[in-house]
Symmetry: C2
Subunit: 400 residues, 2 copies
């Protein structure tokens, strides 16, 4: 992709036709920013979304899935400071009320909007009702902030942070003619149970909801779906893609797919680098499986193994734990045919350890683990992190 420029200083407002804002509405006790708005000025309003596969779905996920069926969104409202999950019919009513309030404020500002054109995302502790008085006052404020003319992408990216230490955004400019931008928060796969992953992507390409849906599903399947910090799956995970058509350019599906994939991949790397308690960025690649699906299963098992992850935290080339994890796959393997490598150095092959296997240097921040099964041509890579003291600290002291 020559003539493609990736810029991390820009996010959802990089494409034409989008405005955003982020404010502190008082939902977080800390007083930090906690309410974000992304607004599509058009002329098109196509949208697609993917959501958590968890059967326990937060109220905003239930709402947004429903409204997305029409393939059309004018705005996304996002709050941190509370997940609004497991909150019953009252919690769902809160989400509905929030969407109505956003629609009313936008309509009052001069953009006729219905509640069914507003997606809602929430992140934070599961189980508490949101402070609706603060949230609804915040909706008025955030629409005003957006209407004030600021670009606001940075502020929106900051307002959705929970345990994130830095905001995450990126924009891809395609030959100067159309753009895809995005912001993300959260510290896990399309899925951590605590740090819900929320992603909003925007584009000014002139594409319909079906094309967006294809591009989004293709991209998330090999990016966010393969970022696996702790194997947990959130009640709130949401990835949305909105198009304004403001560039008046219609890329091919392949061009759109490639651009969305690149943006998702970059956001994914940012999420991995800022995952809870991370000290190592780890990639697990399994090759030589019977199928890509088998390779993915094996890579996930290794990526989720607490003993592998603690060893990597200790910069310890304990390849035996990798083999022990691989031995748990639900399909037949032949241990004697497996080759395991750390950072490109084979440590186990042909049924026996390789010379120098215990001396491989894993002291750097990036660790690549590869497992060649020698059964077929299936391959997959999963990104994960180490399991550190900081992970335990952060997750043992969150709600109380």
């Amino acid at each position: 992709m020559s003539d493609v420029r990736l810029v991390r200083e820009q996010g959802v407002t990089a494409p034409g036709g989008f405005r955003a804002a982020g404010i502190a509405a008082g939902i977080k006790v800390s007083g930090n920013p906690d309410l974000a708005l992304v607004f599509n000025e058009g002329p098109d309003y196509a949208a697609a979304g993917v959501f958590t596969s968890n059967q326990v779905k937060a109220a905003p996920v239930q709402w947004s899935r429903q409204v997305l069926k029409a393939g059309r969104l004018r705005a996304v409202i996002l709050n941190s400071g509370g997940a609004n999950a497991c909150t019953g019919p009252g919690g769902f009513q809160d989400t509905h009320t929030t969407a109505e309030a956003v629609a009313a404020a936008l309509s009052e500002w001069g953009t006729e909007t219905g509640a069914a054109e507003v997606a809602v995302c929430s992140t934070g502790l599961i189980g508490d009702r949101l402070p609706m008085d603060k949230l609804l006052a915040g909706v008025t404020d955030v629409v005003q902030a957006m209407a004030g003319g600021l670009v606001g992408g940075d502020e929106a990216a900051r307002a959705i942070m929970t345990t994130d230490t830095v905001p995450k955004q990126v924009a891809l400019h395609h030959k100067g003619d159309w753009t895809v931008g995005g912001m993300a928060k959260g510290a896990g796969m399309l899925a951590p149970s605590l740090a819900t992953m929320l992603v909003v992507l925007t584009t000014d390409a002139k594409v319909d909801a079906a094309a967006l849906d294809v591009a989004l599903r293709r991209a998330t399947a090999v990016t966010f779906d393969r970022l696996d910090i702790d194997g947990s799956c959130s009640t709130n995970d949401t990835v949305l893609l909105l198009s304004s058509g403001a560039s008046e350019i219609t890329p091919s599906q392949d061009e759109l797919d490639a651009a969305v994939l690149t943006v998702c991949d970059d956001l994914c790397a940012q999420l991995q680098a800022d995952a809870e308690g991370v000290t190592k960025r780890v990639s697990i690649t399994v090759s030589g499986a019977g199928t890509d699906a088998d390779a993915l299963i094996a890579a996930r098992i290794v990526a989720r193994d607490s003993l592998v992850k603690t060893a990597l935290f200790g910069s310890d080339p304990n390849w035996g734990r990798v083999l022990a994890a691989v031995g748990m796959v639900p399909f037949t393997i032949d241990p004697d045919r497996i080759t395991v490598s750390f950072n490109g150095s084979p440590v186990f092959s042909g049924g026996t350890p390789m010379p120098g296997a215990r001396e491989v240097d894993l002291s750097g921040a990036d660790i690549h683990v590869t497992v060649e099964l020698n059964l077929g041509s299936g391959q997959a890579m999963v990104r994960t992190t180490d399991l550190s003291h900081a992970y335990v600290e952060e997750n043992s002291a969150y709600s109380s």
Copy 2:
């Protein structure tokens, strides 16, 4: 079971017909005891075993599975200080040589024994060959120690410890007429990848290998198989049951099953209490599933969830994480019908939090989590622990 006495001060030598010994053979760098022998004096030599389901099986597991096919064992030799896993044909030859050395030493002592009557168990780091000079010298010494007339059950239980902080043994005396004893080491389910679980059970009941096999499989299925510390599965896990027939009493299968189950259950509780880094003993009970198998799957998912486990380490009644974990089960649930309780106090029911849910006291060392799915009558309990700083510490600094 009245007239049944459980004694933790005794182990594998409590039943008649068994001797044991434990010595320091120099396999461990620390100089701590590292070689144990359990010897069956007869008159019977029936035996049964269950082994890791990991496809990467250590040499001693491959050996012991093979010899167990005859349903007969005279002795078990166990070493800590090295797992002899992923060591290739040379490692298997080391196991074979060890069994031959034990058989030769026992034969020399006057008990004609073949190598195929000797099971071998190893535990420690995966991937290194054992120091065979030390191990073979140790075999001579441990047979001499055993022949010296000491009972030796305590010494054997100590010699198999790795990261265990205390030896684990128990004996059940059935109405003073027959006995089941056992020892265990390891810090996980019938499977942690690091701290291999090794268990040797003995009985002087007069029962054949088939009866032992039934009793052992029934007991392990609901005890060791449901102790899940970190979801990892070792290359070396082994549970053996030997009978000497010395009591000349043949219990019914039900009586045998009950006794073996009680001994396994007690050893299981000891393993849980001494698991790596444990600060909380946690039981996860899922009821109201469609089947017991579904309930077990759900209980395992909760027991393995890092976010649930870190919350419990922090004594935090973060029930939302339990629900999020339950939401990942591979069968259909209805979140609105689920009731979650901590230590008997309902915290979530009917789709909404219960009053006081955030104030449940989890400061004690024992935490009971129950999840009622209200779908059927399937039920299962899994024992686990919290995920603590000590777990990370112990597992990040083990091999180096």
